[in-house]
C-alpha cells in the first residue's frame, strides 16, 4: 500500500462498534498500512454528525439510519462497511416481565427515530407485537436511560453496549437484541469528498481494521480490555461481564438489512424519499 | 423629653474613623423647640440621624421620655436634608407614607387635605418626585412629617429650598401646628433668623467635630415682625460672635 500524507479523521462514540479502530490505532496498524488516522471521540451522535457535516471529520462509526438521514438532509455520505455492535432490549428485574410478549402496555425507554427505536420495533415485531402495543418513553441520553431502567422508572429500555452489559450486570434481564435477531444496522460512513480524495487511504484504513479484528479474535479479552476501557470510555466494572460481539472483517451491509431500515424510515415518513441500496452504499473498499 | 448625654458619633471610613459629634449634652423638654445651628459639616444632620434611630452605633445615652430610641414605638416626623422621598411613589403616597407605616389614616383625610393645601401641593398629588422642582420636593417632605402628627419632629434645614415668601408661610404653618400639638421639635437650620424666630432654645455647635458651644434660651421666640426689632439684631450679632468663636470664654 502506498504512502499517504493526508490524514483521515474518523469520529467514534463510546460503543463496541468502534473497538477495532481503537485497537488498530493503538497497535500501530494504521501506520503499518501507511495511513495517518486521527480518531475523534464524541459523546453524542449529534456532535459526531455535526463534525461530519461541517467537514471536520472524514468518516465515522455510525448507523444506517444516520447515514440515510444524512443523505436525506443533502449530505453526500456513503456507507462503506458494516461494524459489529449490539443493541439490547432489557427489562427491570422487578417489572414482572419474562418474555417479550409480557411487554404489552409497559413503558420502554428509547430514543426516538434512532437505531434504538428501530431495533426495538424489530425485536417487538419479531415476537409478534406492534410498536403501538407498548408505551415508548423518550430518554435520549444513554446513561439516563440506564438509570431510569435500574430504578424502575421505566419497565424496559433498549440500550447499546457497553451500558447494556452494565445493566445486565446490575440485574436487568435481557429480552432481545439486534444480534440475536441477526440484524446489524451499525455501519461505517465516509463523506464522498473523503472517498474521492483519498480512497487509497480508506482502503488502508480497512486493511488495518481487518488486522485489528484478527487481533481481537485471537487474543483473550483480558489482553485489550484495559485499553478499551481507557480509550473508548467504557465503565470500569464491565471488565468481567462484557460480552463483546464477535468481530468480523469489514464487509458491506446486506441488502435486506438496508432495505428494511429504509422501509421503516419511509413508513414513518422520516425521510423524504426511499433510497436504493446503491445510493447509500459504496462497496469499493471491502469487496 | 429628649435627654442626650455624652453623645459621640464616629463615621467609619476605609482606614480610619471620622469623629462627627463629640460629647453632646442636651435636654429638650416636652413640647419644646430646639434650633440647632452650626457651620457646614459640623454634624447637625448626624445628630438628627441619631435621634431618629437611623444611626444606631454611637457612644453616650439618648433617651426619649426615659426610653431608648425606638423608631417603631415613637412617632417621629423627620424631614431629611435631601428630602428622602421615594421616587417610585407619587406625591400623595409620599405624603401619606408615614401614616401608612404607622397603621392606617382613616379619619385623617381632612387634615391631609388641609396640609396639602397649605403647602401648595394640591395640583401635584399624582406626580412622581422626579417631576417636581427642588422646593416642591421639600414641601412634600414637610407635608409628610406634618401629616403624621408626630410626637417628635426632627427637621433638617426644612425650608432651605424655598423662596423667602413661601418659607415664611411654612414657618408660620409650623408654628401654628406646634401651637396646636406642642410637638417636641429639633430644627436644624443654617439661618440665624430662622433659629431666632422658631427656636425656644438655640444650640450652637462648633465646627467639625461638633461640640455644643452654647445653648441659648431664646426670649424672642415667635415674635412677629422680628426683623424690624432691635433685640433681634442684637441677638443675631451675639450668635454670630459665638459662632465665629469671638466669645469663647463666655461659653
Amino acid at each position: 500500500s502506498g504512502k499517504n500524507n493526508t490524514v483521515i479523521r474518523i469520529g467514534v462514540m463510546p460503543d463496541v462498534d468502534s473497538i477495532p479502530l481503537i485497537v488498530a490505532l493503538n497497535n500501530g496498524y494504521f501506520k503499518d498500512a501507511g495511513v495517518d488516522v486521527e480518531i475523534h471521540h464524541f459523546k453524542s451522535a449529534q456532535e459526531r454528525d455535526s463534525a461530519l457535516q461541517s467537514g471536520n471529520i472524514d468518516g465515522a462509526v455510525s448507523d444506517m439510519l444516520a447515514a440515510a438521514f444524512a443523505k436525506d438532509g443533502g449530505f453526500d455520505v456513503k456507507i462503506t462497511s458494516m461494524t459489529n455492535g449490539s443493541y439490547k432490549l432489557l427489562v427491570n428485574k422487578d417489572a414482572g416481565v419474562n418474555s417479550i410478549a409480557d411487554l404489552k402496555g409497559k413503558n420502554i425507554a428509547i430514543s426516538a427515530n434512532t437505531i434504538i427505536e428501530y431495533t426495538t420495533d424489530k425485536i417487538l415485531e419479531n415476537a409478534g407485537l406492534k410498536s403501538t402495543d407498548i408505551n415508548k418513553v423518550i430518554i435520549p441520553q444513554i446513561p439516563t436511560r440506564l438509570e431510569m431502567l435500574q430504578n424502575g422508572k421505566v419497565d424496559a429500555a433498549t440500550l447499546p453496549d457497553p451500558l447494556a452489559s452494565e445493566a445486565v450486570k446490575n440485574g436487568a434481564k435481557l429480552l432481545g437484541s439486534s444480534d440475536r435477531l441477526g440484524i446489524n444496522p451499525g455501519v461505517m460512513v465516509f463523506t464522498s469528498d473523503a472517498i474521492k480524495k483519498n480512497s487509497k487511504g480508506i482502503k488502508a484504513v480497512y486493511e488495518a481494521y481487518n488486522r485489528a479484528v484478527e487481533y481481537l479474535g485471537n487474543q483473550p479479552v483480558t489482553e485489550y480490555i484495559d485499553l478499551i476501557i481507557k480509550e473508548a470510555g467504557f465503565p470500569e466494572d464491565i471488565k468481567g461481564s462484557i460480552q463483546l460481539p464477535s468481530y468480523t472483517k469489514a464487509e458491506i451491509p446486506s441488502k435486506e438489512d438496508m432495505d428494511d431500515v429504509i422501509d421503516w424510515l419511509t413508513s414513518k415518513q422520516l425521510v423524504k424519499k426511499s433510497y436504493s441500496y446503491e445510493e447509500l452504499v459504496d462497496d469499493e473498499f471491502v469487496r | 423629653m429628649i435627654e442626650i448625654k455624652g453623645l459621640t458619633v464616629r463615621y467609619r471610613q476605609r482606614h480610619r474613623c471620622f469623629l462627627a459629634l463629640d460629647n453632646i449634652n442636651l435636654t429638650i423638654n416636652n413640647g419644646d423647640i430646639c434650633a440647632v445651628i452650626g457651620p457646614s459639616g459640623c454634624g447637625k444632620s448626624t445628630f438628627l440621624y441619631v435621634l431618629s434611630g437611623i444611626i444606631k452605633e454611637y457612644e453616650g445615652n439618648v433617651l426619649i421620655d426615659g426610653k431608648h430610641i425606638n423608631a417603631s414605638e415613637q412617632r417621629i416626623g423627620l424631614i431629611l436634608q435631601d428630602y428622602g422621598l421615594l421616587p417610585w411613589r407619587n406625591v400623595y403616597d409620599n405624603v401619606t407614607l408615614g401614616l401608612k407605616m404607622k397603621g392606617g389614616y382613616k379619619g385623617d383625610t381632612e387634615y391631609i387635605q388641609y396640609i396639602v393645601e397649605r403647602l401648595g401641593l394640591r395640583d401635584l398629588l399624582d406626580r412622581y418626585p422626579g417631576q417636581l422642582s427642588g422646593g416642591q420636593r421639600q414641601r412634600v417632605a414637610i407635608a409628610r412629617s406634618f401629616v403624621l402628627r408626630p410626637s417628635i419632629l426632627l427637621m433638617d434645614e426644612p425650608f432651605s429650598a424655598l423662596d423667602a415668601i413661601t418659607r415664611e408661610e411654612m414657618q408660620d404653618l409650623f408654628l401654628k401646628i406646634w401651637n396646636e400639638y406642642r410637638v417636641s421639635t429639633v430644627l436644624v437650620t443654617h439661618s440665624i433668623d430662622e433659629a431666632i424666630y422658631l427656636g425656644r432654645k438655640i444650640a450652637i455647635l462648633s465646627p467639625s467635630p461638633g461640640r455644643i458651644i452654647k445653648i441659648i434660651e431664646n426670649p424672642l421666640f415667635g415674635t412677629e415682625d422680628l426683623r424690624i426689632k432691635n433685640e433681634f439684631y442684637e441677638m443675631e450679632m451675639e450668635i454670630r460672635k459665638i459662632i465665629r468663636g469671638d466669645s469663647h470664654n463666655e461659653s
Binding site: Q53, F69, F75, N113, P140, Q141 | G84, R89, N90, L97
Partner: protein, 246 residues
C-alpha cells in the same frame, strides 16, 4: 413607540435575515439553509408540525420562569437586604450555580418522574440562580440613604421590603427576568428531550438528529420568535410596573 420605532424593528429583522442569507450563500451547505427556503418550509409545516410544539413549550417556559421567579426573587432580595442571610446563602449559590444542571437530570427524573414537572424543575434549576444573583445585587446597589425615611418611621422589615427593596430593585428584577427568560427558552433543547414528543425543543433536536436542517431552522426561527414576543411582554410589564421611570 413611534412608527419609526416599529420600522427599526423591521430593519433589524431584515438585517439578521440578510446576514443569514449571505452566510448560507458562502457556505453553500445544508447546515446553513437559505432563509427563503426556511420561510417557505415554516409556512408549509407550521400548522401541521410546529404549532402543537409551541403550545407545550410556552407552557413549560411560563411555569419554569414563574417557579424560578417565585423562588429566586424573594431569596435574592432577602440575601441582598439581610447580610446574615447573604453570608450563608451566597457561598451556597456560588457553589451550586456553576454546576451543570444536566448532570442532575437523572436525579431530577428519579424524584419528579418523567412528566411535565421534571421539565419545569430543570428549567427552574438553571434559571433560578441567575435570578437570585441579579436580585441580590440589585438590592445591594440601593443607596443607604434610600432607607432613611422608612427607618425613621420605624418600619419593620416587611414594610421596608414592600416600600423600598422591591420597587428600588424592580428594574433590575425585570432585567434578571429577561436574562432568565432568554436562558429558559434556550435550554428547552435539553429540558424537552426526555419523556415527551412535544415541545419546540424536542422538535429542533429531533430535526437535527434526522439531519433535517430545514425543519430544524424552522424550529429555531419559531423559538426565536417566541422569545422575542416574551421579551416584548416583559418590556410592556416594565412600562406598567415602573411608572415613575417615564
Amino acid at each position: 413607540m413611534s412608527l419609526k420605532g416599529y420600522f427599526r424593528y423591521i430593519y433589524a429583522m431584515i438585517g439578521v435575515v440578510a446576514v443569514w442569507y449571505v452566510l448560507s450563500i458562502i457556505a453553500n451547505l445544508p447546515i446553513i439553509p437559505s432563509p427563503l427556503n426556511v420561510f417557505v418550509n415554516t409556512y408549509i409545516i407550521f400548522k401541521a408540525k410546529i404549532a402543537i410544539h409551541v403550545m407545550y413549550s410556552i407552557y413549560r417556559i411560563f411555569m419554569g420562569l414563574i417557579l424560578s421567579i417565585a423562588i429566586g426573587v424573594p431569596l435574592g432580595l432577602a440575601m441582598g437586604y439581610i447580610p446574615r442571610i447573604d453570608s450563608v446563602m451566597s457561598p451556597v449559590v456560588y457553589l451550586l450555580y456553576p454546576i451543570p444542571k444536566i448532570a442532575f437530570l437523572p436525579v431530577v427524573m428519579l424524584i419528579f418522574g418523567l412528566g411535565e414537572l421534571s421539565k419545569i424543575i430543570m428549567i427552574m434549576l438553571i434559571v433560578v440562580f441567575q435570578i437570585i444573583v441579579s436580585s441580590r445585587d440589585a438590592v445591594k446597589g440601593i443607596p443607604e440613604e434610600t432607607y432613611y425615611s422608612l427607618m425613621a418611621l420605624g418600619a419593620g422589615r416587611l414594610g421596608i421590603f414592600k416600600e423600598i427593596v422591591i420597587p428600588a430593585a424592580m428594574p433590575e428584577i425585570l432585567t434578571s427576568i429577561r436574562v432568565g427568560l432568554g436562558t429558559a427558552v434556550s435550554v428547552l433543547f435539553f429540558t424537552e428531550t426526555f419523556g415527551t414528543k412535544y415541545g419546540i425543543g424536542y422538535f429542533i433536536m429531533d430535526s437535527w438528529m434526522r439531519v433535517n436542517y430545514l425543519d430544524m431552522y424552522s424550529g429555531i426561527m419559531i423559538l426565536g420568535i417566541i422569545g422575542l414576543c416574551l421579551f416584548l411582554l416583559i418590556d410592556i410589564m416594565e412600562f406598567l410596573l415602573c411608572p415613575w421611570k417615564q
